[in-house]
């Protein structure tokens, strides 16, 4: 039996920008005439990790794994049910809006659907200027200059500032979202399925742009996606989520070359690949994702796990460091 520590803090040698500890988000399910709470959807159920300065941390998971809820909690767009969020060593978990505002300047988000996230009635200039207006004391002239500069940075023309979102294609709109996010020099950018709605050739353009901007501005990314190949391309470290919990988190190389959690292994073997010479893994997972309102006891993955044994039903595996910087939540790796 391994000595399982209650709250494991992942040790790092690099400075971290965000630390979350045992973060939880339960959404109540209302039922009956009186709309009493009859249960909870445990969207995020005890997640601990840190994001290090200047890195890209990828978070992968299928729908319902809680990855988007997690991103929104870090930005305090959703209130955590329990747990702690530290941003540059400040506890921001319960800050009121007024006190949260200076921190908001340092964190931005890019959403999946650039058709829904940009106000169609605002010109590009108004869209990009808005965060500058709220968060900085720049003069009107300075703001206009900054908008032009940002547009060029993201590969659009300065003259595009007078156009409206409908005049742009999906890839170009995502560039506008990026310009808007970068306007106030954030330190952390959360990209929530930011390239998922784009065609591959356009997706590649936006991914390359994001890498360039990261180098130029020293950005830290939390890159949330269901697409394991995209996450591999852009990330330094990768966390794999399943049903509100972190199954595994490790440097990218470990995750893709030596995945330890049976779920990560299954995910990787499910991805269709364009290498026609590679031998096919024919092991595909059975069954569906269980409902997060009624997750299996013990390990959430055990109902689909080919390696499940008795203990998996009884005891929830905690995240433990198996190799240097490689953490996994699975009883197979208990001492």
């Amino acid at each position: 039996m391994a000595a399982i520590e209650e709250k494991q803090v992942i040790q790092t040698d690099q400075e971290s920008i965000v630390k979350i500890e045992d973060l939880k988000k339960y959404f109540p399910i209302k039922g009956g005439i009186l709309k009493r709470t009859v249960g909870h959807v445990k969207a995020v159920d005890g997640v601990t990790f840190d994001i290090r300065k200047g890195e890209t941390l990828g978070i992968v998971g299928e729908s319902g794994s809680g990855k988007s809820t997690l991103g929104r909690m870090i930005l305090r767009l959703l209130e955590p049910t329990d747990g702690e969020i530290l941003f540059q060593d400040h506890d921001i978990t319960h800050l009121r809006n007024k006190h949260m505002r200076p921190f908001r300047k340092d964190m931005q988000i890019i959403f999946q659907d650039p058709f829904a996230s940009l106000n169609t009635k605002m010109s590009v200039e108004q869209l990009i200027e808005e965060p500058l207006l709220v968060q900085t004391k720049l003069s009107k002239k300075e703001r206009k200059e900054k908008v032009k500069e940002l547009l060029e940075k993201v590969g659009l023309r300065a003259s595009d500032r007078l156009k409206y979102p409908h005049e742009f294609s999906g890839g170009q709109r995502q560039r506008i979202s990026i310009a808007r996010a970068l306007a106030i020099n954030p330190k952390l950018v959360i990209a929530d399925e930011a390239v998922s709605a784009l065609d591959v050739s356009i997706q590649a353009q936006v991914l390359n742009l994001m890498s360039d901007l990261q180098d130029e501005f020293g950005l830290t990314y939390l890159f949330i996606s269901h697409d394991l190949s995209v996450v591999k391309h852009i990330s330094d470290r990768v966390g794999v989520m399943y049903l509100g919990r972190l199954a595994e988190i490790a440097p990218k190389k470990n995750i893709y070359e030596d995945p330890l959690h049976p779920y990560t292994q299954a995910l990787l073997s499910s991805i269709p690949d364009t290498d026609v010479d590679r031998e096919r893994d024919s092991v595909h997972l059975d069954g569906d994702l269980p409902s997060p309102s009624n997750p299996p006891s013990g390990c959430a993955f055990r109902t689909r796990c080919p390696m499940a044994h008795e203990r998996c039903a009884e005891e929830r595996p905690e995240l433990q460091e198996v190799k240097d910087g490689h953490y996994v939540a699975c009883h197979l790796y208990d001492e």
Binding site: E62, S229, P272, T274, D275, V276, D288
Partner: protein, 341 residues
Amino acid sequence: MSNEPVLQVKDLKTYFYLDDNQVARAVDDVDLTVRAGETVALVGESGSGKSITSLSIMQLINKPGKIVDGEISLLGRNLLDLSDKQMTKVRGNDVAMIFQEPMTALNPVYTVGNQIIEVLRKHKKMSKKQARLRAVELLKLVGFPRAEETIDEYPHQLSGGMRQRAMIAIAISCDPKLLIADEPTTALDVTIQAQILDLMSKMKEQLNMGLLLITHDLGVVAEYADRVLVMYGGQIVETSPKYDLFKGPKHPYTQGLLESLPSVHKELNRLGTIRGTVPPAHKFPTGCRFSSRCPHVMEQCLEKNPDLIDIEPERSVRCYLYTGDEGAKHGGDRRETSHSN
């Protein structure tokens, strides 16, 4: 591949007549053949015309769209000659279709069973009792462990993957000769996608159907297709057996697509890109439709659209690089595609 062709499409043109007298040539001169037991993948990005091609085959094109020219022959019969009534008999019977979003394709107010039974009663003239028994059989076949119960459940009670299984059960209920699957797994998670694609391949083998798989996902193509047709701007720009296509793509568009794809098995510092975006269907450039984005564009590309020419047995490409001597120079060399953004 000596199997009989199930579907043969020749010179298909489907145009959309827009308000301001503009014409969107969404499908323009498309030829394709699907043989029994074969999976043909039609790949392309949004706006390439792949879905319009499949809807044209089913004759589900509405105004302002119109099939302007061409021939769609299913088992030797030209579907364009059929009346609406005759076509209704063909749909769901000889040819069936699966769509991307099973929740919108299934009727939410009828049980899963009802929707299968309806097809069997209509096309196979079965009695209620017979149809119900057959429906249970079909649900078992596509992997419902509790088929006797599922038959009385409504679509909203099923998960996305299970709904797509139900769609497959409906589609194969009348033993179609051709199954058209339009982005069948795009809305599903990867682990579920693998299950559904495995199931479709199995059904294709068992029933010896032709499968026309329409997708934007080159990974899916590489795993499941036999032959590949690459579409761009309403036209087929390259056709090839799967292996050859991924080993040595010929058309600059195919090359660019493959270069821009991140992979879990490769380490790339930088993704290749194709500059610009797909032009809308009423604003294709004169000459080659890819010329506005092509890294190898030459003078003649701007003047006249190249024909789809055979370059090897079973392989053809629509590009001037392969007419005359130039083919040898550029053939299969993927490194030349542009890396600049």
